[in-house]
């Protein structure tokens, strides 16, 4: 998944951000071996991923919640 929170040029795929995420927002991509933001809508803005990234590759941008519909 394309995302603009993690700089793929800096990410070394160490998984630190994945470990720290309480909401399973970030996953390691099996092909690229880099972290990807898979569920940005579940980010609670705790900032642990950003704070503990050894590469300073993450800048989270939790947006105001998108319009959520009741039935999909």
């Amino acid at each position: 998944m394309q995302n603009s929170w993690i700089n793929p040029a800096l990410c070394i795929g160490c998984g630190t951000c994945v470990k720290h995420c309480p909401r399973d927002v970030i996953r390691l991509d099996e092909n690229s071996k880099k972290a990807v933001v898979k569920y940005p809508e579940d980010c609670i803005n705790c900032q642990f991923c950003q704070a503990y990234c050894p590469q300073k590759a993450i800048k989270i941008k939790p947006t105001p919640k998108p319009q959520i519909v009741s039935w999909k």
């Binding site: 309480p22 579940d42 642990f48 704070a51 959520i68 009741s70 039935w71």
Partner: protein, 550 residues
């Protein structure tokens, strides 16, 4: 999706401080121990966020144990379990030393590794550094051979003939089904009903007795301030507030009391409440800076306590969603083979009663109950034979787990979560309670329980996790509302506008709940008479804090 069967002596559900202690203590007895966490054990639960402190009692520091317990009972409005209060204080030094030996991130100053000690009420609190205690607990558990399964959501305990035989759940990554067969199971699933834990929901669903008293927890901060976490940390060492007219608010030196009195002021129309940095002395500013450096050194923040100003406060309330009722000091529950620790064993409220006393009164009770639950579960595991789980039970659990992902459409779990928050978190439901509003909230919660939860839809295992979180959250919401309605008095953080006084001795009692053929049954468990306050002391002295309208 595949099925994985794991057989273990002791299963621990939840990888916070309580779960890690339980797993480590059971493993030290030589047993095969498995720990399962819906996040990444040691990192993602409430323990990782507990950076305020760790309560430690050391008789060598010249503090009298009995007067310490008496003060806790008085501030906790006589609702603590004095036996647990005493055990937790007495064993706090030992668990603290163990945490130190595992490399937990405590902060020390000066030669001889002297801890920062801040005295809130009578109890010293040791400062915790940026990593918290969780990662060190996890590492030690792994080092001694505890098997850890991360990102597995446990949805149900496995039960046969009133005995707990383990638990079932699924992987958030692969969606695979996981069946854990265990001789003894420890529930350590955190508190507060949603977000970081599922409280006693698993125990309740399996038919255990639980307790819930409406003693909610508030933590107003300045979280929406840019770089909010550092500001919240700084606030814990400098609590001075002004009201909407910038008039100084007087308050007792206790966080929860501050928070509740702020809510009452807002309710009386005197908001907004500001954090008054303008009144900080240079000494206050230094203390705040130190607090931020210790706690959030890596966080980008625009917050600078030296800048002064008046920062509007935003509030958060989390409701008491109950814990499993512990039938003995080995943390056994009313179900054979099931033990509980930490928030899901109601440890913090057993320790401190109806109020939050000091930073750290969650971690220490969780550590001590985790320690004891691990030993209790180990003892039980040595006494029983291997377990076998009936195939019909597994089939039923499996159908329940995957139903939301097999539907072609349904209600969105994110929308449903939002709706539950909207019902439960307004201050006029969670903090300033009244029969009418509690019943209104309950009507909505019951509607969601009966009409929306059965039709939730998940498109992948991650969303399936959200759905099963809601199954716990809706149950916890109902438990919280019913307990709050049942408790027809005000006490501690449970404030009923329609019953604004403590009622002694009728409500020197805990509220207990249990599933009774699909209905929630509630009753009172009286507090032993020997722990009652002295009724010859006038009410106003027994309870120094006033509720609005009393």
């Amino acid at each position: 999706m595949n099925e994985k069967m794991v057989t273990t002596d002791v299963l621990v559900i939840g990888g916070g401080i309580a779960g890690c202690f339980a797993a480590i203590k059971a493993r030290e007895k030589g047993l095969n121990v498995t720990l399962v966490d819906m996040g990444y054990a040691g990192y993602t639960g409430a323990t990782r966020w507990s950076l305020s402190g760790f309560i430690v009692y050391n008789p060598e520091w010249g503090i009298d144990l009995q007067s310490c317990i008496d003060t806790i009972s008085k501030v906790g409005e006589y609702i603590n379990d004095r036996e647990w209060t005493e055990i937790i204080l007495k064993e706090s030094w030992q668990v603290f030393q163990e945490l130190l030996s595992w490399g937990a991130d405590f902060r020390f100053e000066g030669p001889g590794r002297r801890p920062y000690v801040e005295e809130f009420l009578p109890i010293p609190v040791i400062r915790i550094g940026e990593m918290g205690v969780g990662p060190a607990c996890r590492k030690h558990a792994e080092d001694i051979g505890v098997k850890i399964f991360d990102r597995i959501m446990i949805t149900d305990l496995l039960k046969c003939d009133d005995r707990i035989l383990g638990a079932a759940g699924f992987s958030l990554y692969s969606g695979d089904l996981y069946i854990f067969k265990a001789k003894a199971t420890v529930l350590a699933t955190g508190g507060f009903g949603y977000g970081t834990g599922s409280s006693a929901a698993l125990a309740y669903k399996a038919g255990a007795e639980i307790t819930c008293n409406g003693f909610n927890h508030t933590w107003p901060g300045a979280a929406s301030y840019p770089g909010g976490w550092p500001a919240v940390a700084a606030r814990t060492v400098f609590m001075r507030f002004v009201d909407g007219e910038w008039k100084r608010i007087d308050h007792p030196p206790n966080e929860e009391l501050v928070d509740l009195s702020l809510v009452f002021l807002i309710h009386a129309g005197k908001g907004p409440i500001y954090w008054d940095l303008d009144s900080a002395t240079s000494d206050d500013i230094e203390r705040m800076k130190k607090r931020i450096e210790n706690t959030y050194p890596r966080f980008e923040t625009t917050f600078n306590p030296a800048q002064g100003g008046k920062i509007p406060m935003d509030g958060h309330a989390v409701y008491d969603s109950g814990g499993a009722w512990l039938i003995n000091k080995k943390c056994a529950t009313s179900l054979l083979g099931l033990f509980a620790a930490g928030w899901s064993g109601y440890a913090s409220i057993l320790f401190r009663g109806a109020y939050h006393h000091a930073p750290g009164d969650g971690l220490t009770p969780s550590a001590v109950t985790g320690y004891r639950a691990g030993l209790g579960a180990a003892e039980h595991a040595f006494q029983v034979d291997d377990v076998t789980v009936n195939n019909n039970i597994l089939k039923e659990v499996k159908e329940k787990i995957y139903a939301p992902i097999k539907r072609r459409s349904g209600f969105d779990p994110r929308w449903t979560t939002q709706i539950i928050y909207n019902i439960m978190t307004p201050y006029f439901v969670s903090l300033v309670k009244h029969k009418d509003r509690l019943e209104a909230a309950l009507t909505h919660i019951e509607f969601i329980r009966d009409n929306i939860v059965p039709k939730l839809y998940a498109k992948d295992p991650h969303e399936l996790w959200l759905v099963h979180e809601i199954r716990s959250a809706i149950l916890n919401a109902e438990i919280s509302l019913r307990a709050s309605l049942f408790r027809t008095e005000s006490r501690g953080t449970h404030f009923r506008e329609d019953y604004p006084r403590r009622v002694d001795p009728d409500w020197l009692a805990w509220v207990k709940l249990k599933d009774d053929g699909g209905r929630m049954r509630l009753w009172k468990e009286p507090i032993p008479q020997k722990w009652w306050p002295d009724f010859s002391i006038p009410y106003e002295e027994r309870y120094p804090r006033r509720f609005p309208g009393e």
